[in-house]
C-alpha cells in the first residue's frame, strides 16, 4: 500500500515535469534538426543557428525588442517609484484611493483593450498635435511603459509599505534633508524591489505581442511580432534555434541568481550565528 502510493506520487511528479518541460525539450531537439521540414527528423545539425545569425530581419527585431524593453523598464521603474512614494508616504490627500486604484488598473485590463485605446490615442494625437508623426519604437515604448508602471508600482509599493518608516525619520533626525534621506537611506533599502520591478517590466515588455502589434509602425517590428508573423507562414527551424538560445539565456540567469541568493542566505546565516555567539 505504502509503496503503491509512493509510485503513484512519483508518476504524477514525472507527468508534471513532462507537461512543463516536454514541449521545450522537443523544441530544443528540433532546433538541431538538419531538415528544413520541422516535422521530419533528418539527423543532427547546427545549420539553423548559423542561418539565424544571418537573418538580418530577425536579429534586428531582437535588438529592437531588447532596446524597447530596456527603456520601458527603466522609465516604468522611475514612475512606479514616484507613484509608490506618493501612495505610501503621503498618507492623506484627496483622491488617494482613486489614484492607487487607477494606477494598478492595467493589471486587470485585457491587453487588447490597452492596445486599441493606445492606438486610438496616438492616431488622435497625430492628427491634432502632429506628434507622434509616425508610430514606431517611440509609441511602443510609451505603450509598454504604461502597463509596466502598473506592475512596478505594485512591486515597489509593497516593499515601501513594509519598510520601517523610522529609518527615514532617523536620517532626518541625524541632519539629512528629505532629499538626501531618500537617496542615502530609502533608495538603498528598497533597491531589491526596484531591481525585481525592473526585471519584471523588462520581461513583460520583451514578451508583449498584443499591445506592440497595435501601436507599432513601419520598421519597428519587435521580436514577438516577427516570430508571430514568421510562424504564420510555417514554423521554421530558425525560430526553434532562437527559442533555444532564449531558453538557454533565461536558464543561466535564473540559475546564477539562485546561486547568488543561496550564497547570500548562507552568509546571513553565518552572520546570525556569529551574532548569537556575541
Amino acid at each position: 500500500m505504502r509503496s503503491g502510493r509512493f509510485s503513484l506520487s512519483v508518476t504524477i511528479f514525472w507527468l508534471g515535469i513532462f507537461f512543463l518541460y516536454g514541449p521545450m525539450l522537443m523544441l530544443i531537439i528540433y532546433s538541431f534538426n538538419a531538415s528544413r521540414m520541422v516535422q521530419v527528423w533528418a539527423g543532427w545539425s547546427t545549420r539553423w543557428y548559423g542561418e539565424l545569425f544571418q537573418d538580418q530581419q530577425l536579429m534586428g527585431a531582437v535588438g529592437r525588442s531588447l532596446q524597447i524593453a530596456f527603456y520601458s523598464a527603466s522609465t516604468a521603474v522611475v514612475i512606479g517609484m514616484l507613484a509608490s512614494i506618493v501612495m505610501i508616504r503621503f498618507t492623506r490627500f484627496r483622491g488617494r484611493t482613486l489614484f492607487s486604484g487607477m494606477i494598478t488598473a492595467p493589471l486587470v485590463m485585457p491587453d487588447v483593450i490597452i492596445g486599441i485605446s493606445m492606438l486610438l490615442l496616438f492616431v488622435a494625437m497625430a492628427q491634432s498635435l502632429g506628434w507622434p508623426a509616425q508610430r514606431g519604437m517611440l509609441t511602443i515604448w510609451i505603450a509598454h511603459t504604461t502597463f509596466c508602471v502598473a506592475y512596478s508600482t505594485v512591486v515597489i509599493s509593497s516593499r515601501l509599505r513594509e519598510m520601517d518608516q523610522s529609518l527615514e525619520e532617523a536620517a532626518l533626525d541625524l541632519g539629512a534633508t528629505p532629499i538626501k534621506a531618500f537617496f542615502l537611506v530609502t533608495l538603498p533599502v528598497i533597491s531589491p524591489a526596484i531591481i525585481s520591478a525592473w526585471l519584471l517590466s523588462f520581461t513583460l515588455s520583451l514578451d508583449d505581442v498584443v499591445i506592440a502589434s497595435f501601436v507599432t509602425g513601419p520598421g519597428a517590428t519587435t521580436l514577438p511580432i516577427e516570430v508571430f508573423s514568421q510562424v504564420k507562414l510555417g514554423v521554421t527551424p530558425k525560430i526553434n534555434a532562437l527559442a533555444t538560445i532564449i531558453i538557454g539565456v533565461v536558464s543561466i540567469v535564473a540559475f546564477s541568481s539562485w546561486l547568488l541568493f543561496r550564497k547570500i542566505d548562507q552568509h546571513n546565516r553565518a552572520a546570525a550565528r556569529m551574532a548569537a555567539q556575541g
Binding site: 520601517d164 523610522s166 529609518l167 525619520e169 532617523a170 536620517a171 532626518l172 533626525d173 541625524l174 541632519g175 539629512a176 534633508t177 538626501k180 542615502l184 537611506v185 538603498p188 533599502v189 546571513n268 552572520a271 546570525a272 556569529m274 551574532a275 548569537a276 556575541g278
Partner: protein, 380 residues
C-alpha cells in the same frame, strides 16, 4: 555599577534645583484630525536630567516626543530649546537626536557607517569623523563590531549602536522612545543601568518615553505621568509612588488599596475618615487644609505598608479584621488577599525574610493594620 549610578544620581538630585531649564513645552496641544492626542501640556526639562514620560499606550506620550523631535507639528503651543523657539523647525535642523524604538539602524551600512552618518551631514572633516566614531564605539563597548552590519548584531548590541549613533552628534537633548521595548526581560534590567551610566557619563539631557513603570523609576530623575493626552503628575520616582496626587496615578503606579471615606474630623495636625469597609476608622497624621466642602475622600494605602497579624492590633484606629482569601507566593515576597467583613478585598505584601516561616493560610482569621502616616488622602 548600580551603586555608582545611584550615588551619582543623588548628586544630581541635590543640584537639580540649581540647574537651568533646557527644554520648555508651553501649552502644547495636538489634534490628529478630530482626535485629541496631547492636551494643553506644559513641561520643563532641566539641564542634565533624565526625564521620563510614563503612560499607557494611547496616552499621547509618543506624540509629545515626536513633537520634540520635529516629526509632528503642534496644533497649538510652543516648544523652546534653550529659550529658542523650535516649534516649527524641521527635524534635520534641531540639535535634538532620537533613539528609535526599533533602533532604526540603516541596514545597508556597517556599524561605523551608521555612527558616521550624522557627522557626515554636518560636513565635518574626515579625521574628526573617524575620531568621533571611535570614541562612540568605545563609549558603548562596541569597538570589536565596527565593521558588522546591523543584522549581524544581537538585540543588546543593536541598542548600544543606536544609542551611540544618537549621541554621536553631541545633541543638546536626547530622546529615547521605549528604549528597552525590544529587549527581553533579563537583558532589559541589565541595559537600563548601563544606559543610565552612559548617559550620565556623557552628561546629556534626556527625555524618554515608556509604558514600563519599573523602567521609568530605574532610569529617570523625574517622571511625568500621562493619561489621555494630559499630564497627571510630575515628580521624582519617590514623589510619584509615595505621594500620588490622584486616583489614576495611585492605581497606575504599583498596586494600591483604595477606600472611599467620609471626613469625620479635620484638624491642622490630623484627620479621621469613616469608611464602611473597615471595622475601625482611619486616622491620618496630617490635615487636609484646603477647606473644601467635599466631605468624601479617597484613602490610598500601598500593599507593602498594609501589615497583617493574627493578634488584634492595639488602638481605635487603622485596623480591620478579615479572612485570608487568597495567597500568591512570589519568592521574594508573598501577596495576601484579605477579605474584610464587608466583602472588600485588600492586598498586603509580606517580605519573606524567613525561610518557611509559620504564616497564616487560607481562610485564617487575621487583622490588617497600618501606621498613621502610611497612606495618602486623595480627593478622588
Amino acid at each position: 555599577m548600580a551603586l555608582a549610578a545611584g550615588a551619582r544620581r543623588q548628586q544630581h538630585e541635590a543640584s537639580a534645583e540649581a540647574k537651568k531649564t533646557l527644554l520648555s513645552i508651553e501649552k502644547v496641544t495636538k489634534y490628529f484630525d478630530e482626535d485629541l492626542a496631547v492636551d494643553n501640556v506644559t513641561l520643563e526639562v532641566r539641564q542634565g536630567e533624565i526625564f521620563a514620560l510614563l503612560g499607557a499606550s494611547g496616552s499621547g506620550k509618543s506624540t509629545l516626543l515626536r513633537m520634540m523631535a520635529g516629526f509632528e507639528n503642534p496644533t497649538e503651543g510652543r516648544i523652546l530649546l534653550e529659550g529658542e523657539d523650535i516649534t516649527h523647525q524641521p527635524p534635520y535642523q534641531r540639535q535634538i537626536n532620537m533613539m528609535f524604538q526599533s533602533y532604526a539602524l540603516f541596514p545597508h551600512m556597517t556599524v561605523e557607517q551608521n555612527l558616521a552618518f550624522g557627522l557626515k551631514q554636518e560636513k565635518l572633516s574626515k579625521d574628526v569623523i573617524i575620531d568621533r566614531v571611535q570614541r562612540m564605539l568605545k563609549l558603548v563597548h562596541m569597538e570589536k563590531y565596527a565593521r558588522r552590519k546591523p543584522h549581524q548584531l544581537s538585540g543588546g548590541q543593536k541598542q548600544r549602536v543606536a544609542l551611540a549613533r544618537s549621541l554621536a552628534k553631541q545633541p543638546k537633548l536626547l530622546l529615547l522612545d521605549e528604549p528597552m521595548g525590544a529587549l527581553d526581560k533579563k537583558l532589559r534590567t541589565e541595559m537600563q543601568l548601563e544606559v543610565v551610566d552612559i548617559l550620565e557619563n556623557v552628561g546629556v539631557t534626556c527625555v524618554m518615553v515608556t509604558h514600563d513603570q519599573e523602567e521609568a523609576m530605574t532610569m529617570a530623575d523625574r517622571i511625568a505621568i500621562m493619561d489621555q493626552g494630559f499630564i497627571q503628575q510630575v515628580g521624582s520616582p519617590v514623589d510619584i509612588y509615595e505621594s500620588p496626587n490622584s486616583r489614576m496615578v495611585a492605581e497606575f503606579i504599583g498596586s494600591v488599596n483604595l477606600f472611599d471615606g467620609q471626613i469625620i474630623d479635620d484638624q491642622e495636625d490630623h484627620m479621621t475618615l469613616h469608611t464602611d469597609d473597615l471595622d475601625a476608622d482611619i486616622y491620618i497624621g496630617h490635615g487636609v487644609t484646603s477647606g473644601v466642602d467635599e466631605r468624601s475622600m479617597l484613602f490610598a494605602l500601598r500593599p507593602e505598608k498594609t501589615l497583617m497579624t493574627r493578634e488584634k492590633p492595639d488602638g481605635d484606629y487603622n485596623w480591620s479584621s478579615g479572612i485570608v482569601h487568597d495567597i500568591a507566593y512570589l519568592g521574594g515576597h508573598t501577596v495576601y488577599y484579605v477579605r474584610l467583613p464587608q466583602g472588600k478585598i485588600v492586598q498586603c505584601f509580606l517580605a519573606n525574610v524567613e525561610r518557611r516561616a509559620d504564616r497564616p493560610t487560607w481562610d485564617d482569621p487575621v487583622y490588617v493594620h497600618w501606621a498613621s502616616d502610611s497612606g495618602v488622602v486623595l480627593r478622588s
